[in-house]
């Protein structure tokens, strides 16, 4: 599973045998359902509290308990937080994978091994430390039943010793993790201490790696993309959430429901200012959203690949009858059921043109957790403004892993924009209301909501051919004109959707385009390309479809142009080739599609050619 990687940039000094600070990857192999997650979060947070940028990637099976699961923590002073294939330290707790996990290590890597697995060690080129976890936990935790829950915290203590992680930070992280649960705090601290003490007494510090206090994480938060999306949906004024559970999107909904329950009761009555409906399937979810959107609610659903497929028919109704709707697609590895717990960007082209017949949809593509939050609000706004379906294209890496981020920008002041809705009073002022007339020339018509007490308000919504006044029509001209107006509306969407983020480097001849969760790996890859390969690069990150004209200009400007994406079929490249046929031949693809979060080195290899293993 590990990609062949050169030494990371900031560690060049290690070759001179000097210590490397604040740059390490710790890979932890445990068992699903064994409660290792809290130990891993404590570790993550302890490093973060020291002021060191850190990320945590959870690689878990599509299963509830008993199968192998991995957690990879990367601490990096420079903020390179993408997945890095080669681990510095392996924590091997799972007999089912310890051998394979060790086999993947680079020579010289360190292994912290549960001593009962000692017999699995076959390599001699690793620094293996067998730790008596069972004995230590027995000592630290008198209650037999609780031992399973705290055994993993022992390796936090061991690592704290090895890497010189601030024990105060560990203690604080434990308190944070078990906020309010005193006995749990005590127990976990005892376990961490036990690990630390044992290590201190039996092991030297790590020969090359250390953590030391820094100041790069002040006021920053650690959050999962799905949590961020939920916060955006909360502050975006979602009134109807309809969903059907599916990994990895469920936690968008579950987080939002938690937030709803806490923050969205009417103060006067205690009643809910939202409806959260668990549907019987995805067709129902999107049906509820369309029914609610038609009736005027800000309605959203979240799903993943299989759900997107099931929503195809309704997506066309939203497009053609012009009913606002938001779908959050937290992409997982497809096709078919695929790998429900692995990440991918394989729905981009699918969502873009979801449904039969001519139709295309607006896609917002967050590249970080802060954008998950912002674009969730934006999606709700655009759906109502454009009266159409808007996708928020997240993915499992972004959605379910732990990301460091600046605190989010509070929502804008003032009333939430609700688009071109004519209420009873507004209808008084117009001579005539025609639902599908392009009054403003932007392709966006006006609408009214059921329940509007004005004789002009009523109209009939249909997925069949219609005239500007919404009356049924099979007439050829009516049909074509309406389709042309919808194309015009899509051009308006092009203007309203978030523009790309462009970082142009003077003198660069290579341009990189990417989107979504590839962002940190691209950033790191650019650094490597610049420093190691003397290849400065410019970078454009797409944040929405339809494509912004700035993308065209960017492509035109560079001699070599690489589009990095996480799917086999170069889906975004295909979309851009169709948009810019005159530039199509320029676009080279760098593709990653094995289910792991993308890493910088594969991008570097894709652009500079593969690096030889030393």
């Amino acid at each position: 599973m590990s990609t062949v990687l050169p030494e990371p940039i900031s560690r060049e000094s290690a070759e001179d045998d000097r210590l490397v600070y604040n740059d390490a990857v710790v890979h932890i192999g445990t068992t699903n359902g064994s409660g290792s997650q809290s130990a891993n979060l404590i570790l993550l947070r302890a490093v973060c509290r020291m002021g060191i940028p850190v990320s945590g990637k959870n690689l878990f099976p599509s299963n509830i308990a008993g199968l192998p699961t991995w957690f990879t923590i990367r601490a990096n002073e420079d903020g390179w937080l993408a997945r890095r294939g080669r681990s510095d330290i392996l924590i091997a707790m799972n007999d089912a994978t310890a051998a394979a996990d060790m086999a993947e290590l680079e020579p010289g890597a360190m292994v912290i091994l549960n001593d009962v697995l000692k017999k699995l060690v076959t390599r001699t080129d690793l620094r293996v430390h067998a730790v008596p976890f069972n004995k230590l936990v027995a000592d630290a935790c008198p209650d037999h039943k609780l031992r399973k829950r705290v055994i993993n915290v022992i390796y936090v203590g061991v690592l704290a010793w090895l890497l010189e992680i601030d024990t105060e930070s560990v203690a604080e992280a434990i308190s944070h993790q078990f906020a309010g649960k005193k006995s749990a705090v005590t127990l976990n601290k005892a376990a961490a201490d036990a690990g630390y003490e044992w290590a201190k007494n039996h092991l030297p510090r790590h020969p090359g790696l250390r953590m030391r206090p820094s100041h790069k994480t002040q006021d920053r938060i650690i959050i999962e993309g799905n949590e961020a999306t939920a916060i955006g949906l909360l502050f975006g004024g979602t009134t109807v959430l309809a969903w059907y559970p599916i990994t990895p999107s469920s936690s968008v909904c579950e987080n939002l429901i938690d937030l709803f329950e806490k923050h969205r009761s009417d103060p006067a009555t205690g009643k809910a200012t939202y409806a959260a409906v668990q549907a019987e399937d995805e067709i129902a979810s999107i049906g509820f959203v369309l029914g609610a959107g038609w009736a005027g609610a800000r309605a959203v659903t979240a799903t993943s690949g299989p759900g997107i497929s099931l929503m195809a028919e309704m997506a066309g109704l939203s497009y053609f009858a012009e009913i606002p709707a938001v779908i959050v697609d937290v992409q997982r590895m497809g096709p078919s059921t695929g790998l429900p717990t692995r990440t991918n960007q394989g729905d981009i082209a699918k969502a873009y043109q979801l449904s039969h017949g001519d139709c295309k949809h607006v896609l917002l593509i967050p590249g970080c957790v802060a954008e998950c939050y912002e674009f969730a609000m934006k999606a709700l706004d655009l759906a109502e403004q454009l009266q159409t379906l808007v996708f928020l294209m997240s993915d499992l890496d972004l959605g379910m892993n732990k990301w460091l981020s600046d605190a989010f920008t509070p929502p804008a002041e003032g009333a939430i924009p609700r688009g071109k809705v004519l209420d009873a009073a507004a209808l008084e002022k117009v001579a005539k209301f025609e639902r599908y007339r392009d009054v403003d020339g932007d392709g966006i018509p006006y609408r009214t909501l059921p329940g509007t007490d004005n004789p002009k308000a009523a109209y009939f919504t249909r997925g069949t051919g219609h005239k500007p006044d919404a009356e049924y029509s099979e007439n050829a001209q009516n049909w074509q004109q309406n389709m042309d107006r919808l194309a015009r509306k899509f051009e308006t969407a092009r203007k309203l959707a978030p523009a790309p983020i462009v970082d142009e480097v003077h003198g660069a001849r290579v341009g990189i385009i990417a989107y979504g969760s590839s962002d940190p790996a691209v950033a790191e890859a650019r650094h490597i390309l610049d420093v190691r390969h003397e290849t400065p690069t410019s970078y454009l990150r797409i944040r929405a479809l339809p494509a912004n004209p700035a993308i065209r200009d960017f492509i035109a400007r560079y001699d070599r142009l690489y589009l990095v994406e996480q799917n086999r079929d170069a889906q975004m490249a295909g979309i851009l080739k169709v948009e810019y046929p005159e530039l199509a031949a320029k676009i080279k693809s760098v593709l990653h599609y094995n289910g792991l979060p993308i890493d910088a080195q594969m991008i570097v290899d894709g652009i500079a050619g593969p690096t030889e293993r030393k």
Binding site: F288, A295, P450, D453, T461
Partner: protein
């Protein structure tokens, strides 16, 4: 067809009802269905019942799927919003519309194909949620709009028009399934029994949850031949009303003397009453087990009973179950749907 209607409805079509409207105010576009289609008769009954009841059109949401039957929402109440959605999913659209605006009166029109074939699962789940809706199944035993293929409600022994193919699969009993999902208002009728249909519609409007009206509605073009159990003549000859029905709306109660033992009075949640004068069958729609046994008898014998099969109103409607505010969610102002800056800061702090 033993149903009378003593509701104090405005007597002439130009008389204003309690909403201040005339009968014509409930009309819609001209029908494009085949002349004589059962669906058109139901449309007329909807128009008349809504007029009688004094429904406010702007508060109505007309909902449908796809099919000849589903087209008919365009043929009544032009002053109400309507949506002709996709095949079989009107139940989902209705659920969404209800939670977005719980004050709407949902009138849903579907066909047997729309509801009992493609839409079955979603329909049953809508019933389970007790989404307030007057839900019509205009049941003709076939797919009218796609030219007469058997639907899942075709009776065993039905013969395909102009062919020899005889249906042998048992018909889906929408009423029984709805009851199994806890439906509180289950009726069966015949489009030609306009008096009974109208009375049932008014009662359904008065009902606060899901009201399922399974109305046999002949397709005169594709399923009206000999060998069809859903033809006009078959239905006319075989209809056997369970009771003489009457609807007494809450807004105009009248005193009637009931003969005990002869008349059942069903008290509705809003104060309306449905009276059922016993005919030869002895049926009390408040008894679930009996209602079920009746349906099973029908399944065995094919006997065409019509009337109010089952009624209860103890279940919360979906908006209540969700604990929604009284106003429509759709139009809540920003301050009700966007938490404060303080809340935002608090949430951010939790992630530090």
């Amino acid at each position: 067809m033993g149903t009378t209607d003593t509701a104090p409805a405005p007597s002439g079509k130009d008389v204003l009802n309690r909403a201040g409207l005339k009968l014509d105010d409930y009309k819609g576009h001209g029908s494009t269905l085949c002349a004589g289609c059962g669906h058109d008769a139901i449309t007329s009954s909807i128009i008349k019942a809504c007029y009688d009841y004094g429904v406010a059109p702007h508060q109505v949401a007309k909902l449908s799927g796809i099919g000849c039957s589903s087209k008919t929402t365009n043929y009544f109440m032009d002053n109400a919003h309507g949506i002709n959605s996709v095949h079989g999913r009107m139940s989902c659209i209705a659920t969404g519309a209800h939670v977005a605006n719980r004050t709407l009166l949902n009138i849903g029109v579907s066909g047997d194909g729309d509801t009992a074939s493609i839409g079955l699962g979603n329909f049953l789940h809508m019933v389970r949620r007790n989404v307030p809706i007057v839900y019509f199944i205009e049941n003709n035993g076939c797919y009218g709009l796609t030219k007469g293929q058997f639907s899942a409600t075709a009776d065993v022994g039905s013969v395909k028009k102009g062919g020899t193919y005889v249906n042998e699969l048992p018909p889906v009993d929408i009423c029984a399934l709805a009851m199994e999902m806890g439906c509180g208002f289950v009726a069966r009728s015949f489009s030609g029994d306009t008096q009974q249909v109208r009375t049932l519609i008014k009662a359904a409007i008065a009902h606060r949850g899901t009201a399922v009206l399974d109305i046999i509605s002949p397709c005169v073009t594709f399923n009206n031949h000999e060998g069809s159990t859903k033809s006009v003549s078959y239905a006319r000859e075989h209809e056997d009303p369970l009771h003489e029905l009457d609807f007494i709306p809450h807004f105009a109660p009248i005193l009637v003397d009931y003969q005990p033992g002869e008349t059942i009075v069903v008290d509705m949640h809003d104060g309306s009453k449905v009276t059922l004068k016993k005919l030869h069958a002895d049926h009390d729609p408040r008894n679930r087990d009996r209602a079920m046994l009746l349906l099973h008898e029908v399944q065995r014998t094919g006997h065409f009973y019509t009337g109010l099969i089952y009624y209860h109103d103890e279940t919360k409607v979906f908006a209540e179950e969700l604990g929604l505010v009284d106003e429509p969610l759709a139009t809540l102002p920003t301050e009700k749907i966007r938490p404060t800056r303080a809340v935002f800061d608090q949430i951010m702090a939790g992630y530090k």
